[in-house]
Symmetry: C2
Subunit: 444 residues, 2 copies
């Protein structure tokens, strides 16, 4: 008899799981249920959709329900999973259009319910003009608001990747922008010195950066009009909250599925939960950190795709493994590129790892090339083993993707000495004769 | 007593050696003699100097004679080394300005005499309008000629990196350009399928590409006016010869220093020749291929700098090693980026290595980003060990430097399986959610 795979969630991890399961087993029955209206969309493109660089929401959609149907995958949107019965092997759903409930049996289940924006419990947080950016509808709502109200002062709360990308994209609307961060530096997953370079750049472009600022309340009658914090009151006409996400793991927890760090669903390297036949992947799940072997919660689109693929393959009888991540990340804000991988100094200190760190400033191309930009490369090496543990890069004109060289070296467990004289590609438009990555390695 | 280091040659390897020797030993006497007029210049920038993207020759100069003097390094230009007496430890020089000869004793010697363009022995090869591009004076001569004669048809002989870069830069002069290659494909150090993509691109931009064409003679009275080949006669008003270089190793050979492949000076991983106290580095010397352990001749600016640094350190009492190269290379022609590292299929076949190869076509950024360009990635894996052996990339918008990820993986001896799910950096302006390098790795 044909087996039946049920997938809950249809953005990155869920659709990857379904597509891979289909390739693994052409016969299996595969059904995917999505709570949202849109499926299989590139959520990481939303800042550029708001900014107008991506002109139509359709461009964010990777595959349609019809395309999945052609592969023999049935996808239903606007359907919320409300209960998992692991004994009986069935899931209860609520059809959000009709209001009807129904049940669906499964042989194997992939939980890819994603995450939702963390919403602080603050007075006034529900005022109009305060937004999250997580779904296509969020993006549409923000665009409509910006066009209708033409705010002159916008506050972005949270100095992570989304916050930075939104700085660039809100600038298209001519707003005065404040980037507000409760910690002492923006980009919390980088070290303060590197984040400081980005902060200076933002300030040079007219962005106000507030650090160590903790919000207490939003003021306004119907529309948000001011923000109260430990630093005082700031008038504001638009607020974007980008202070992180929390996993949609409640339905799993209720079903007796074990949770891990940050209340995310605990999985092993085969994406298996503690209950046989039930897999999880994406922003609702934990992931293994390759350097520490620790369970971490670093929700990322790339990881969701990789975990989804492995979950789908295994849920269809395969035997795939996803070993984990290095916490690699990259973002662009205007001309500046910002990237990191592995451990930063803070993470080494927290773990008691003895390390040596060097930072260099170089150029991304030969000094006589017009496309040459400044680049700062910070490397962190474990003191005893001389293994490369981490890299951080900020700069212009092709700086950012150089982080992949460091991610590759860390993945293979390379020592600094193995790669110090590597044969990296050089010609004047692409690099100085000593690539800045090599210049940094040569400091050790 | 202070030791004395003599360096012959003052472009990439020679100046790197002198500078590193000075850092290694602040006391040593260091003298550098250069045959040319210009020292310490970025020869790889010459195509862009011809094309006018680099407006002044001074921009190509890294360090001046005065700057070296400040470091206690005496540099003399226009001085040709004519004999090395390894018994007595002295070098005879000819001052090209005065015509006088003199001798200079050394304790240690670094031979960094570079290479010269290979000049085929063909009738008419000395006609005016036929050029090489190796030195700053070559660049100046070409610019003068192009401005004075405004040729309408230009032929570039040799489809390697310099030839490709000169296509782009000659286009600034509005010439009709023919790229001529005696082999069956352009870019001889890549495979035919990848070179074919570049050829198609060049043709789409109006460049005529002639392959399998062997020149027999150049015609013309004073200025070159036509080219005779196995394919017939072609009218032409400008010819650039870029058919490779040969090492300036004669002076070493005469002194009893052992030569290796391509008549280049044989050195070990400490840059030592067979004669104690004599080192060599740069385009006059061989280099070790990291994959095969074979001695190869792949003259490159990056390698010259690395070898020079090691030669200088060791010649000043240090103990440095340069392990070798992967034959990594990169070039840009108009919007197209072309890069390679490790072995290509041809090289595997020649060595009898059993391999598996896959090529994918992908995008350099998320499909909805304006900066997203096509990219082709070809990977070669050793069949038994599953080690990555080589990579070739062509494409647009940030395609080329992705080769460094492959160079890093090959340097560390990574198998395809170790890096197949690597945590490379993703955000929409930089990559699709599956970086094309990972897409290619996932084919194995």
């Amino acid at each position: 008899m044909k087996k039946k795979l049920l997938v809950i969630g249809a953005v990155a991890a869920g659709t990857s799981a379904a597509a891979k399961a289909r390739r693994q087993d052409p016969e299996m029955e595969i059904k995917v249920y999505a709570e949202g209206e849109y499926i299989s969309y590139g959520g990481c493109g939303l800042p550029y959709f708001v900014g107008g660089r991506i002109d139509k929401k359709e461009k964010l959609l990777a595959r349609s329900i019809e395309e999945f149907a052609q592969q023999g995958i049935e996808v239903k949107a606007l359907t919320r999973a409300i209960n998992i019965d692991t004994e009986q092997g069935k899931v209860s759903f609520l059809n959000l259009s009709s209001g009807h409930c129904f049940e669906e049996a499964y042989d194997n289940l992939v939980i890819a319910t994603g995450a939702r924006p963390y919403k602080p419990d603050l007075p006034g947080v529900d005022l109009k003009g305060i937004f999250n950016l997580r779904t296509i509808n969020d993006g549409l709502n923000i665009k409509n608001y910006l066009h209708q109200y033409q705010p002159r002062r916008a506050i972005i709360i949270g100095g992570g990747y989304i916050g930075l990308e939104m700085v660039e994209n809100l600038m298209q609307y001519g707003c005065q922008i404040i980037l507000l961060e409760r910690g002492r530096q923006i980009i919390p997953n980088m070290d303060e010195d590197m984040a400081g370079i980005v902060q200076q750049y933002l300030e040079s472009k007219g962005v106000e950066v507030h650090t160590d600022e903790i919000i207490r309340e939003f003021g306004g009658t119907q529309l948000v009009s001011e923000l109260h914090s430990n630093k005082g009151r700031t008038p504001v006409e638009f607020v974007l909250m980008s202070v992180g996400v929390q996993p949609n793991s409640e339905i799993a927890a209720q079903a007796g599925i074990e949770l891990g760090i940050n209340q995310a669903i605990r999985i092993n390297d085969r994406m298996e939960t503690n209950i046989q036949g039930i897999y999880s992947a994406g922003d609702c799940a934990v992931v293994n950190h390759l350097l520490s072997g620790e369970e971490v919660y670093i929700p990322m689109g790339t990881t969701a795709n990789k975990q989804g693929k492995v979950a789908g393959e295994n849920a269809a009888g395969g035997n795939a493994v996803f070993k984990g991540v290095l916490g690699t990340g990259i973002a662009r804000v205007m001309e500046m590129e910002i990237a990191r991988t592995g451990f930063c100094e803070k993470e080494c200190l927290r773990r008691g790892i003895e390390y040596i760190s060097h930072t260099i400033k170089g150029r991304t191309a030969a000094h006589y090339c017009p496309a040459s930009g400044d680049i700062w490369v910070k490397l962190i090496m474990e003191k005893n083993t001389r293994r490369l543990l981490g890299g951080q890069i900020v700069g212009y004109n092709g700086a950012g993707k150089r982080i992949d060289v460091l991610a590759t070296a860390i993945t293979t467990g390379a020592t600094v000495d193995e790669i110090i004289e590597m044969d990296l590609a050089y010609s004047p438009p692409f690099s100085p004769v000593w690539d800045p990555v090599l210049v940094a390695l040569n400091q050790f």
